[in-house]
Symmetry: C2
Subunit: 333 residues, 2 copies
Amino acid sequence: MKKLINDPENVVNESLRGLAAAHPDLVRVHFEPNFVYRADAPVQGKVAVISGGGSGHEPMHGGFVGNGMLDAACPGEIFTSPTPDQMFEAAKATHGGEGVLYIVKNYSGDVMNFDMATELATAEGIQVQSCLINDDVAVENSEYSQGRRGVGTTVLAEKICGAAAEKGMSLEQVAQTCQKVNANGRSMGMALSSCTLPMKGSPTFDLGPAEMEIGIGIHGERGRYRELLKPVHEIVQTLAEAVIKDLPFRQGDQVLAFVNGMGGTPALELYIVYMELAQICRKMGLSIVRNLVGSYITSLEMQGMSITLLKMDDDLLKLWDHPVRTPGLRWGM
Amino acid sequence: MKKLINDPENVVNESLRGLAAAHPDLVRVHFEPNFVYRADAPVQGKVAVISGGGSGHEPMHGGFVGNGMLDAACPGEIFTSPTPDQMFEAAKATHGGEGVLYIVKNYSGDVMNFDMATELATAEGIQVQSCLINDDVAVENSEYSQGRRGVGTTVLAEKICGAAAEKGMSLEQVAQTCQKVNANGRSMGMALSSCTLPMKGSPTFDLGPAEMEIGIGIHGERGRYRELLKPVHEIVQTLAEAVIKDLPFRQGDQVLAFVNGMGGTPALELYIVYMELAQICRKMGLSIVRNLVGSYITSLEMQGMSITLLKMDDDLLKLWDHPVRTPGLRWGM
């Protein structure tokens, strides 16, 4: 295992220290329990949008804390759910009197712990709603989830709900917006290589020198099948077809197309993926009105990518375009 | 070799098509000869800032084209210098009557070809100056360069000179600003793994399973030495000491600290590197007034990172903070 780390046990804490040191204008980090929160929190009169999950997916979620996106993010250990006290303390530290939305990726540990945090916060008099993201069309159940896994759409939901909260929408409205994003977003990914957990030191799974895994999860969970590596246009066709058929996306739909790198795939290749995806969308009569290309929900140093399509309307477009200023996503201010 | 590509011969062209498709509001791509240029070029009454070099280092340079940074970028084949006609045509297409600055990384092919392009453009009546970036302290000469290689400082020079041009400075002033950035910037990098050229299909060099290369170049050129992998705090100490000693940076200096990923290293690890670098700077009495953490000048899917320090003053700070809007770097608009 080759990683730029010190002690495998301190990877998450040290990376959080780096994040805090690099972006003091945007975020603060609270330790024990760990959470990243907006430097100007709590923002009075605004719904607080909070997410969290295992670490190893950076910039998600800690890199999405800031004006126009998350109020707080709760990082667990690598690929391990954060604990209810992290989520509860994050809610206490950042809520501004208008309630809290928890955005939860559908993994059993996350769901259970955000449920407990919701109880704790509610008992404290904080109004909480939570919204589940389960957009991965690859598999119906998986090693860590009942039902579909939450993947790429999470990034889009955090951006869009952050904007909704910033614009002064109520908790009910922000939660409905999140459900709408989840209902209209679909994803699927693939991997060329495994990733290696720092504490384990060996690859999570083995792929042959000419193999790829189609439908991979962001923790290296098995997907649909393995096969020999193909030209990228065939790979993108496979993923895009599965995604488009599932919603289904229909001719004339306006979509946001998100090409996401898994951490170890360079931008050079992601733009080739985007070129292929744009061609497929054109052929299918889908109009790409916005896009995002980069490594935003990653799986440590895994090589691979995922595709997310989100069906857009005018309301979602306005929220997407709203200014955002976080370590990992920034425009308009 | 596992890459998300179609034909190895078309990697650069297809990636450029993806870049153009993803960012039509920011850039256009001209093919044969290939160059990326601002969607609103030529901008009349402004110095045009142009760079270029081999592909495989994305987002540099094509991802840095846009308002507040480059007017054009000339991508060669992977790790291969662009040709003089690319640079010449880019100058013709984007100059706005106030001259052109070529920002050139110090590699023999780039230097020769930008020199020829300068002659061609001058003969055409376009005023051209060029500025060499040679900030890599690792080695004094290398496989592809006479003198020091141009690496991380290039990113900072492109941002700062782009701002200078946008603010209406003259060609002379923009060129002087570029020389000042180069004179005050120093870098050094390291690698945990090699990268693989698509056309070659096998790694550029071999590193043992527990080895790293200190002082690596962005084309996989040999650096200073190989040794067994160490904890990241020792690695950062080695690089930072070499960089600090070279300028030298002195107690009380204000610096921009740039932690750059080589393409295959995830953000999680880059922030640990930043944490270590911030501690070293504090101990040495250097005040980090700005920072940049991410994969900006890469080497395909290489795992590794580089550190750049740039000594700042009020003028450079103002230029750094000026709004920028490109596919790869964006703030303030």
